[in-house]
Amino acid sequence: MALLQVENLCMDFGGLRAVDQVSLSVEDGEIVALIGPNGAGKTTFFNCVTGHYAPTGGEIVISPPQGERARIDGLKPNRVTALGLARTFQNIRLFPAMTVLENVMIGRHCRTRTSLLGAILRGPGTRRQERETIDTSYRLLEKVGLLDVADEFARNLSYGGQRRLEIARALATDPFLLLLDEPAAGMNPQETRELDELIVRIRDEEGLAILLIEHDMPLVMNLSDRIYVMEYGCKIAEGTPQQIRSNPRVIKAYLGEQDDA
C-alpha cells in the first residue's frame, strides 16, 4: 500500500484549472520528485495535499506505517500535519521574531499537550514535556547544521540557513512523509550539494519518504527514485530519472526549454 496515493486530483480557481486529473503515489522510503515549468501547478498540488486548498476533485489517501488508512482531501492543514505529513514552503515562511530553536519547537506543538493552567503552574509533567521539546529541537538543529545559531532570531539567518531551518521545523512534527517545495531555490552550488546529502540523510535516518518539487535538474536526477512531470496542470510523464531524461515530451516541455535559457 502506498504511503500517499493521489487519484485524479483537480483544483480549479474560478475558470482556471491549475491541477488537472493528476495521480501520484509515494511508497515507503522513496524520494519522489515533482517537476515542471513555472506555473505548471506543482505548488498548488502540494497545497491540496497538505490541506491549504480543498481540492475540487479527486481523492487523496494516506496509509501511514503505523496507523489507519485515511482520506485527507479537504481536511484542515493542522489535521493533515497531525496525521503525519509535513511541508516546507517555496517562499520561505518562518517565524521571524522567534529564535531559530523556537521555530523548531513550534513543530513539536502537535505532538505535545499542555493546558492553559498547566503552562501557568509549570508542574513536573509540563516541565518534562518542555525538556523533551527542547532536546528534540536541538537534535534536529544539529542534523541540519544550525546548532551554533540556535539563539539567533530566524530573520537573521542566511537564505540557505532559512531553508534548512524550514526542513528542521517540518521534521519536528514527526512526519512519515516530508514535502519539500523547491528546497534548493536561491542556494549556491556548494549549499545545493550539502542539501543533496541532507535529504538523503534525512530519508535514511528518520525513516521517512520525501516528495519534492525542484527546478535544479542535476539535484533531481541525482536524488530521485521516481519523477513526475507536470505541465499546464496535467501530468505529462512519470518514471525513473533515466526514463524521464529520454522522454521526448518532457524534453520538449521542460528540459528543452531549460537548454534554451
Binding site: 497538505t50 491549504h52 484542515k76 492543514p77 493542522n78 500535519t81 497531525a82 509535513a86 511541508r87 514552503f89 515562511r93 518562518l94 517565524f95 521571524p96 521574531a97 522567534m98 529564535t99 530553536l101 523556537e102 519547537m105 513550534i106 513543530g107 513539536r108 506543538h109 502537535c110 505532538r111 505535545t112 499542555t114 492553559l116 503552562a119 501557568i120 509549570r122 509540563t126 514535556q129 518542555e130 525538556r131 521539546t133 527542547i134 532536546d135 536541538y138 537534535r139 540556535a150 539563539d151 532570531f153 530573520r155 537573521n156 521545523r169 517540518a170 519536528a172 512534527t173
Partner: protein, 403 residues
C-alpha cells in the same frame, strides 16, 4: 544643498496649509479681515528649522555603520545583560518591587488613588498584550471586557448582595465568557476587518449599558458600590485605599507572572507563531481557531478581573468610563511598550496614566502631546520602547535547566 531645499518646501507648504487658520482673521466687530502675516512667518520658520533638524539627524544616523539586521532593532550589549544576566536583572526587579511596596507610605491618599488607577491600567495593558502583542489580534474594543467585569460586580452586589471577593473571579469569568462569545464568530476575520468588528463591539456594549435603564441603570450609572472588604473589618477611607493599592499590586504581579510563564510555553509560542505567519503556523499543526480563541478569552479574563477592582475602587461606575478613548489608551500602551514585551507594556501603562496626572499644566495640550509622542514613536522606535526578548534554552548536554 538638497536638504535645505526640501525643508524650505516643507516650510512653505505648512505656511500655505495654515494660512486660513493662522493668518486670516475676520474681525466680526469692525467687519474687516485682518491679515496676520507675522504668524505665518513664524510657522514657516519653525517648520523649516524642525524639518531641517530632522533631516540632518536622519542623515547622520544613516551614515553610521549599519548594524546586523535590517529592522534597526538590534540587541546592544547592555540590553543583552539586562534581560539575560540574572545578576543584573534580579536586583533591579527586587528594587522595583520594594519601591512599589513602600511607595504608598511616602505619598498622600490622592496620589495613592492615582497609583491604583495606573496599576489597573497595567493589568489591562498586560491583558491586551496577550491578544494584540502575543497573538497579533488587533482589538479596538478591549475596554468592553473591562466594563463587563465592572458591571458584573456592581449588578451582583445590588441584586444578590455578593461581596468583592466573590465577585472578583466571577468578573474574570464573565470577561472570558464574553471573549469566547464575541471571539467565536469574529476571529476568523483578519487584520483590518477584525479591528473594525471589535471596534463596533466595544461601542455596542457601551450603548447597550447606556440605554438599558432597568437592568444596567443606564446613563445614571451605579453608585455606592462597596470597596474591597478585608475579613469584615471596618476600614477607614485611608486604610481602604491603602488596602486597594496592595490588592492591585498583587493583581498586577499575578498578571506579570502569568503572562511571563505563558509567553514561553507551548501555548504562548503558538500564539506568537500565529502572529508571525498564520499559514506556516497551521502547517505546523497549530489549531488556529482554538489558539486564537484561547488568547482572546484569556486576555478578556484579565480585563474582567480588574474591572471588578475598578468598580470597587471608584464605588461608582458609569458607561462613560468605557469609551473608545479608553480602548485606544490601552492599545497605545501595548504599541508604545513594544508588542509582546511585558516590561515595556508595564512601563508604558505607568507612563501613560501617570504623566498626564502630574503634568496638569499641559492638560490643555494633552491630546497634542499624546499624538506627538505616538508619531515620534512610529518614526524612531517602531518596535516600541522595549522590543521583546526571547528566552534562551540550554542544550541537552548541559544539565540542570532552570528559567
Amino acid at each position: 544643498m538638497r536638504l535645505v531645499g526640501r525643508s524650505l518646501l516643507v516650510g512653505l507648504w505648512f505656511m500655505f496649509l495654515t494660512l486660513p487658520l493662522l493668518a486670516v482673521r475676520v474681525n466680526t466687530i469692525t467687519e474687516t479681515v485682518e491679515w496676520r502675516w507675522l504668524n505665518l512667518v513664524w510657522v514657516g520658520l519653525g517648520t523649516f528649522i524642525l524639518s531641517l533638524a530632522l533631516a540632518l539627524w536622519r542623515q547622520r544616523s544613516e551614515s553610521q555603520p549599519q548594524r546586523d539586521d535590517g529592522e534597526g532593532d538590534i540587541t546592544p550589549r547592555w540590553r543583552e545583560r539586562l534581560f539575560h544576566d540574572q545578576t543584573v536583572y534580579r536586583p533591579l526587579l527586587i528594587m522595583a518591587l520594594l519601591a512599589t511596596l513602600l511607595l504608598p507610605w511616602l505619598v498622600d491618599i490622592y496620589q495613592i488613588n492615582i497609583l491604583v488607577l495606573a496599576l489597573i491600567f497595567v493589568v489591562l495593558g498586560l491583558g491586551l498584550n496577550i491578544i494584540v502583542g502575543l497573538a497579533g489580534l488587533l482589538d479596538l474594543g478591549y475596554i468592553a471586557f473591562f466594563a463587563v467585569g465592572a458591571y458584573t460586580y456592581a449588578l451582583l452586589n445590588i441584586n444578590l448582595d455578593l461581596g468583592f471577593w466573590a465577585a472578583l473571579p466571577l468578573g474574570g469569568l464573565a470577561g472570558a465568557f464574553f471573549g469566547l462569545l464575541i471571539g467565536f464568530p469574529v476571529l476568523r476575520l483578519r487584520g483590518d476587518y477584525l479591528a473594525i468588528v471589535t471596534l463596533g463591539f466595544g461601542s455596542i456594549v457601551k450603548i447597550v449599558i447606556e440605554n438599558e435603564d432597568e437592568l444596567f441603570y443606564g446613563a445614571m450609572g451605579i453608585a455606592d458600590i462597596p470597596r474591597p472588604g478585608l475579613l469584615g473589618l471596618d476600614l477607614s477611607l485611608d486604610q481602604s485605599t491603602l488596602y486597594t493599592y496592595y490588592l492591585v499590586v498583587a493583581l498586577a504581579l499575578l498578571a506579570i507572572f502569568v503572562t511571563n510563564r505563558l509567553k514561553d510555553s507551548r501555548l504562548g509560542r503558538a500564539w506568537i507563531a500565529l502572529r508571525e505567519d498564520e499559514i506556516a503556523a497551521v502547517a505546523m499543526g497549530i489549531d488556529m481557531a482554538k489558539c486564537k480563541l484561547s488568547a482572546y478569552a484569556f486576555g478578556a479574563f484579565w480585563a474582567g478581573l480588574v474591572g471588578v477592582l475598578f468598580a470597587a475602587r471608584n464605588t461608582f461606575i458609569h458607561p462613560n468610563s468605557f469609551t473608545f478613548a479608553e480602548s485606544a489608551l490601552v492599545l497605545s500602551m501595548v504599541v508604545l511598550g513594544g508588542m509582546g514585551s511585558i516590561v515595556g507594556v508595564t512601563l508604558a501603562a505607568l507612563i501613560l496614566v501617570l504623566l498626564p496626572e502630574y503634568l496638569q499644566g499641559l492638560a490643555e495640550y494633552r491630546m497634542l502631546v499624546f499624538g506627538g509622542v505616538m508619531v515620534a514613536m512610529m518614526v524612531f522606535r517602531p518596535h516600541g520602547l522595549i522590543s521583546p526578548s526571547r528566552r534562551r534554552y540550554t542544550r541537552p548536554q548541559a544539565q540542570g535547566e532552570e528559567g
